[in-house]
């Protein structure tokens, strides 16, 4: 039953790729194929916020995998928000400066959030204990994680169907998410306030040599949560200087919003 519906799905989606260039179409179809392949395995997809789901391999966060998030608590919160809103318990190990109120702003249910702020040297034991009982666990590794520990924990994750989000590098992670460039809007030189930030999130999947996907997101957006940003494409630079282009850097590509 599954294969038939998926096949119909694919045919329907074929027509959506009309307006794309050749390489884009190939990429999109490849993404569909990997998504289908994932579905044939007995793995559960976690509810994920749509803007993030587009970037992740398999089209969603998957139960039983480990993800690594570099350098952004906000991105971690955006990843937790989907499962938490759907009623999952979440655990956060070893992140003493986790901004609880910001988490609530992202839509994380605080009543089902458990924090272990200072596990000390026992962070791995505590993470393993939480993985046993909570479906989503965030951990901040202390020091370098060795491959054997990571493999043992990965086996446990698969067995329990739990998802691990490591704040920092994690060996054998399903995907590595990092925030590359961010620019804040709403604030000037001495006026305004921080309102939203547009970031480029890069997702490197597979091994270190794997494919990279990039996406522009509002993190946080206007309502303090995660939002998809309008897509930007590079356009040719028009003749003459632009009135707002005060920085004078001409080597950067000029971006335009695609509606």
């Amino acid at each position: 039953m599954n294969t038939v519906s998926v096949a119909i799905d694919i045919v329907e989606h074929m027509f959506e790729y009309e307006g794309m260039t050749g390489s884009e179409r190939v990429q999109a179809l490849q993404a569909r194929i990997t998504q289908m392949q994932r579905r044939t395995l007995d793995e559960r997809a976690l509810p994920t916020l749509p803007p993030l789901a587009e970037l992740l391999p398999g089209g969603a966060m998957r139960a039983g995998s480990a993800y690594s998030v570099i350098e952004s608590h906000a991105l971690v919160m955006a990843m937790l928000a989907g499962p938490s809103e759907a009623g999952s318990w979440c655990g956060v190990v070893g992140v003493p400066d986790f901004g609880v109120e910001a988490a609530a702003g992202f839509g994380i249910d605080l009543q089902r959030l458990v924090l272990v702020p200072n596990p000390g040297d026992q962070w791995l034991t505590v993470t393993a204990a939480l993985v046993d009982v909570l479906p989503v666990v965030v951990t901040q590794p202390r020091g370098r994680v060795n491959e054997a520990d990571a493999a043992r924990l990965a086996a446990r994750l698969r067995q329990r169907g739990a998802t691990l989000i490591a704040v920092g590098p994690w060996p054998q992670s399903e995907a590595r998410l990092s925030v590359e460039t961010g620019s804040w809007s709403g604030i000037g030189a001495g006026f305004g306030r921080l309102r939203q930030r547009s970031v480029t999130v890069t997702v490197a999947s597979g091994a270190d040599t794997g494919r990279r996907r990039r996406g522009r997101l509002w993190l946080p957006g206007g309502n303090a949560g995660l939002e998809a940003a309008p897509r930007l494409v590079a356009v040719d630079r028009p003749e003459g200087a632009l009135p707002w282009d005060a920085s004078g850097s001409t080597d950067e590509p000029l971006l335009r919003t695609v509606v």
Partner: protein
Amino acid sequence: MPAPSSSARAIVLWVPDWPVVAALQTAHAAALARAGDDIDDGAPVAVIDRGRVYACSASARTSAVRRGLRVREAQARCPELRTIAYDPVLDARAFEPVLALVEALMPGVQPIRPGLCAIRARGPARFYGGEREAVQRLLGELAAFGLRGCRIGIADGIFAAEQAARHPESISGAESISGTESISGAESIHIVPMGEAARFLAPLPVGILGDPGLTTLLVRLGLRSLGDFAALDAAQVRQRFGEVGAHAHALAGGDTTSGITPRAPQRDLDVGIDLEPPLERIDQVTFAFRTAAERFIAQVSAMHEVCTAVRVSIRSESGQVSEREWQHPRWFTASDVLDRVRWQLQGSGSAAGALSSAICRVAVSPGSRDAASNHEEGLWGSAPDERIHHGLSRVQGLLGHDAVVTPVLGGGRMLAERAVLVAWGDREPADAAASRRRPWPGQLPPPLPARVFSPPRPAVVRSPAGESVTVDERGRVSAPLAQVGVDGQAADVRPNAGRPNAGRPNTGQAADAEPPALLVPQLRAVTAWAGPWSVDERWWDRASARRLHRFQVVDDTGEAWLLLQEGDRWLAEARYD
């Protein structure tokens, strides 16, 4: 009227002026503790509730102090009057030992209110060989306990017995139906023989029915005594006065249908062990306590109840006592109790097993209990929550009780204040939600920073001229913000493609990873900033007053910080990342 049966006979024990007696008892205790001025028993005393006399001693009554009088009026009538504020809790608490004393002598005590209780008469009368003998024994015990002047009435039904206890002198005159006897002066026993309740009640005024609206009406109708009222037809009374009137009519007629419902005596559920010789290691103590904890839980579950809180008290050889109440999100099992004992021995958080001196006694008592039926699992079980609880308890066993927390949002202006962390299993503070609903002018607008530093990290902010930026008393910034550096930022290296970062945690451990000589953090150019937003907190209290200015700053790497300028220093309160 139903024929009076011996099962309806009631003994009512009344301690006159109980609020005064209770208040004096505590005052005596306090005076003894002060070892100073003791209170003279004969001095006039009044207990005051909301500006009026609630109760007064006999000596005050002789100076015409009455219940319901204003305090000033009472003091004018009796200048040496000593006043004590009324405390209903103290009242009830002080009566508890009296009830226990009565229960030790005769079963089936029904407390009516502090100072007044009813006892089923049949059993004691048989056991002690007569009603009079029984209550004489009771009065003797009470006198030995220190309560003199108690009054006892025995009659058919509680109402009649109470009236008998309250109004002995009114009957003790010439045409007494029964004997009033005085032992050792003030105490008196008044026995209304079986079947005589209606006759005994008949001459009493209708006011004692205790319903002001009804009694005023009855008096205006010309019915001044209970006898007059009782003579009316029951059906007509019900028609005219409704259910309340019918009940009062039944009481006036010496109704005996309302029996005594004795309170269930409280079982002593405390379990404790004495350790001889005293033990010094935590695992030894908890091992020794294991069977006691099992016994404690077995006792509670035998009553079809569960414990949702326990009180653990631990005494050490040096005489120190540590007592704490522990909550449980579900209910306690024996191993949970043991865990609490262990955590309390460990102190908060530390896993080291060092005690200041050896432990000689461990005891647990139930803090709050609930019927087990309220905590039964559903037909399909409530497995997920239970599993989570077990897992988290394991982590608590590893790291200590306070290590596993759930966040609750509270009120406040500083970000760290607004997140209240509640240890797993504890109840969330009651005032958090109320405090959050308050307006809190000066709080941050959303979006809020994802990383909150507690405590804030030191920061450096420079003007274009390279000087430190200050904010004056009127909230003006001395110069635009040009450079910013936050301590710990350098330790928190952004990983780039070529160099995998070891994922060093960014607080606390920075010290052992790098030398703490990082006095001037790396400065970055400011691309945008906003502020100051001034927060002037608790200016009325010098100790906790805070005056600071908040800035939002974006540096040239695109990172946004929430900075505080307080006094002459800069702090980073949070980071938007």
